[in-house]
């Protein structure tokens, strides 16, 4: 059984801090030690008992503090792009050759504003207490990126039973536009735990588009909490294609604080072989005339477990809100499991809010139809899965990037089928 208590001396090992920050870290560590890794008694972790998962798979957890030297990575050749490289969470290089460098500020994680809030999620407390890596990217006002920014997130093989805590922040100024692709490359064969705290701020009329995908399967355990703030008239779309991690929980919170802001979340996953993945969203409509749209699609194969917990919150002043949420899942195997909890919490009357959630088997008539046209059963099923997930990929407008994503998804699918 893993000892969940972390000694306060560990904080000194991850860095030197001034008194104010040290106190903040100690307070958060205390909160984590009090609660430990969340288990299913915690409402937000009802379907993903992390305490059980961690104690089953980890004997101990070390905090990753060694410096990371940059390693050679294969850059994406399919399209031109700017990039930054994160090695085990640490910013190791950046290249903005297509952009005006005066308009962009990139730096390693350093002093981060300290929040006074006592976090309900112990993992955020843990991050607050132990974070020592990450990056801060700021885009000045009135600047539109020419090319996409790829964030290569590399996990090396030196991570045995390590826990990485990083904090990333992206701030996009007024009228600016940024498009990013997060690309996870996992070289680690050993168990490790990655705990990310992300903060994205969109100023008025800013636009941000993000795509997140993995290159390969990994034995990593991931938890990411993302806090996104949207200003007036801003627009945020997020595409996530998470798959192939032993455990993955994305906890995404969007605060629509400015009028007319719009946020879109699209996710497609193919889960297999004991993958456990949870997507949890909370969309807070704090201002009027905002729009939110969520569509989450999951295909679940052998022994995988998928979870979707989505919440739309509409404050009483957020009139004329248009919020939509849809979760769809296909279960291919009787050993797979899908749980969902789509929630609405609404305090304003002049709104349009709806959600839908369905889960079921692949349509037998469609399989029969395809087989009668000469396809094998396997081909038919694969074609139908392709079609099911393509509803998400079709939303990507850039053709080259779209092809890249589709190819990656196909590898995920085929890679599994060989086993």
């Amino acid at each position: 059984m893993l000892n969940f208590k972390i000694d306060s001396s560990e904080i000194d090992k991850v860095g030197n801090f001034n008194k104010q920050e040290k106190d903040f870290r100690l307070k958060n560590l205390e909160n984590f030690n009090k609660n430990g890794f969340p288990n299913k008694r915690n409402e937000d972790w009802k379907f993903s008992d992390l305490r059980e998962i961690v104690s089953k798979n980890f004997k101990k957890l070390n905090f990753h503090s060694t410096n990371n030297t940059e390693q050679k990575i294969d850059l994406i050749k399919e399209f031109e792009h700017n990039f930054i490289v994160l090695t085990n969470g640490e910013l190791t290089s950046s290249n903005f050759s297509y952009e005006d460098k005066d308009k962009i500020k990139i730096q390693k994680y350093s002093n981060y504003p300290l929040s006074e809030k006592t976090e309900l999620n112990p993992l955020i407390s843990l991050n607050h207490a132990m974070a020592n890596k990450g990056f801060i990217l700021e885009v000045e006002e009135n600047y539109k990126f020419n090319k996409i920014l790829v964030i290569y997130s590399l996990y090396t093989d030196k991570l045995n039973e390590n826990i990485i805590n990083c904090k990333n922040k992206i701030k996009i100024g007024k009228n600016s536009e940024l498009h990013t692709l997060e690309y996870l490359i996992n070289n680690s064969k050993a168990n490790f735990f990655n705990n990310i705290y992300e903060n994205i701020v969109l100023d008025d009329s800013a636009k941000f588009k993000n795509i997140c995908i993995q290159k390969n399967k990994s034995s990593g355990y991931f938890h990411k909490y993302s806090n996104n703030k949207l200003g007036t008239n801003s627009n945020y779309s997020s595409f996530v294609f998470p798959a192939g991690l032993k455990f993955n929980k994305l906890d995404l919170e969007f605060d629509l604080t400015g009028k007319n802001s719009e946020c879109k979340l699209l996710a497609a996953s193919y889960l297999s072989q004991k993958d456990h993945q949870e997507i949890k969203t909370r969309i807070n409509h704090f201002a009027s005339d905002c729009k939110s749209f969520q569509k989450v699609k999951n295909v679940l194969d052998s022994e995988s477990k998928g979870v979707f917990q989505g919440k739309i919150f509409v404050k009483d002043i957020a009139q004329k809100t248009d919020a939509y949420q849809l979760s769809k899942a296909i279960l291919l195997n009787d050993s797979s499991e899908f749980n969902s909890k789509p929630e609405l919490e609404i305090y304003a009357d002049n709104v349009k809010c709806s959600h839908g959630s369905s889960s079921g088997s692949i349509d037998k008539n469609s399989v029969f139809y395809l087989m009668s046209r000469g396809l094998s059963k396997k081909e038919s099923v694969n074609l139908l899965i392709d079609g099911f997930l393509s509803e998400i990929t079709n939303e990507i407008k850039n053709q080259k990037i779209k092809t890249f994503i589709i190819n990656r998804l196909r590898i995920q699918l085929d890679g599994h089928k060989k086993h």
Binding site: D334, N339, K352, G356, S357, S361
Partner: protein, 478 residues
Amino acid sequence: MKSKDINYNQDYKYGFTTDIENIKAPKGLSEETIKFISKIKKEPKWMLDWRLKAYNRLKVSKEPNWQKPKFPKIDYQDLYYYSAPKSMQDKPKSLDEVDPKLIETYNKLGIPLNEQKKLSGVAVDAVFDSVSVATTFKDELTKKGIIFCPISEAIQKHPDLVRKYLGSVIPINDHYFATLNSAVFTDGSFVYVPPNTKCPMELSTYFRINASETGQFERTLIIADKGSYVSYLEGCTAPMRDENQLHAANVELVALDDAEIKYSTVQNWYPGDKEGVGGIYNFVTKRGACRGKNSKISWTQVETGSAITWKYPSCILQGDNSVGEFYSIAITNNHQKADTGTKMIHLGKNTKSKIISKGISAGKADNTYRGLVDIGRKAINSRNFTQCDSLLMGNTCGAHTVPYIKNKNSSSTIEHEATTSKINEDQLFYCNQRGLSQEEAVSLIVNGFCKEVLQQLPMEFAVEAQKLVGISLEGSVG
């Protein structure tokens, strides 16, 4: 033109009290209170032991706190757990011997026990505080072998049946309020329908809280044996008081092979006044088990009363091909809070369930649908459909949907959809234009919104429920 006799601005019309002499148990919750209740009900020893077991369990359990509506702490020692009209001490043998004051109370409530005997085809068991006042149509039902009597009578006369089924659906250690009920339950109905019998009339219980500082803890047990059918109705009211009264009931249904139970509720406990003072805390546990193959349990509820409602009528679909249904209308106005929904637990093969929930929220009220659909690994080819619609009136109220959906099996399908909206202004305008007042129009539109659920109610209740829908929303628009 607005007809004069429709008065939508009437207050809670069941809010009167009947001044009647009561026998009460000693105040507070203790072993003595439980022994007192057991003694006055002339219960056998096994029943007392069962209650005490529950009481011991209660000592170590805690009140649940996960529900959305929070409430001030209840002082369980400041309540009377048993209160009965003195005239009921020696049980009257027929309706003619019942205290005329009680009969009058029920007449005022629209439950004319005497007339009912002759006219309508509904058998009524009337429960006043902690005791059953009268049960009508007993003879006719007995001829068919149907047992319909107060549960206290069933404990004495049909101990085998009660022992076999009591607590089999809601175990005594289930949760705080269910355990509390198991320890101190006073009266309620017992129904047993023998094999291959279709109950010839609707069975009905009317619950009335009268005494102050009293909790009502009724317990209902319905067993439909193989191939039988029964439809059961339940209605409830309470006087207007500025204190909060606790109502913690347990209802257990058991359907064996090919049996069907239809359970309808029109809940109209006193909701408190416009400022949210007083009203009933309605913390009820209702659960049905479809034990047999091809069995069916259908819950229909119209929830308009109570200050706080926590209620999740559930179906455990154990038998293969069994069916569970849940139709609900929950209306909250002023400071009312409702947290209601259902649980459909699919265990058998080819089981089906359907959930239709309509929530209407006005004033400063909060209305939550909370439900669980759980399809187990062995429940192959199961099916669920859920629809939750909410209607909001004004921006000081809230409407929430919290469904939990679990699917562990690839041959089953679950569908869930929910919408939230307000009353369509075009519809309102159209009604106004045709001469309906704002309130009549709202009532009409809301009735249309609820139609899917209202039509599931038996005739006798449907009319009353429709009126209730209109009255509950009085003053919420315009």
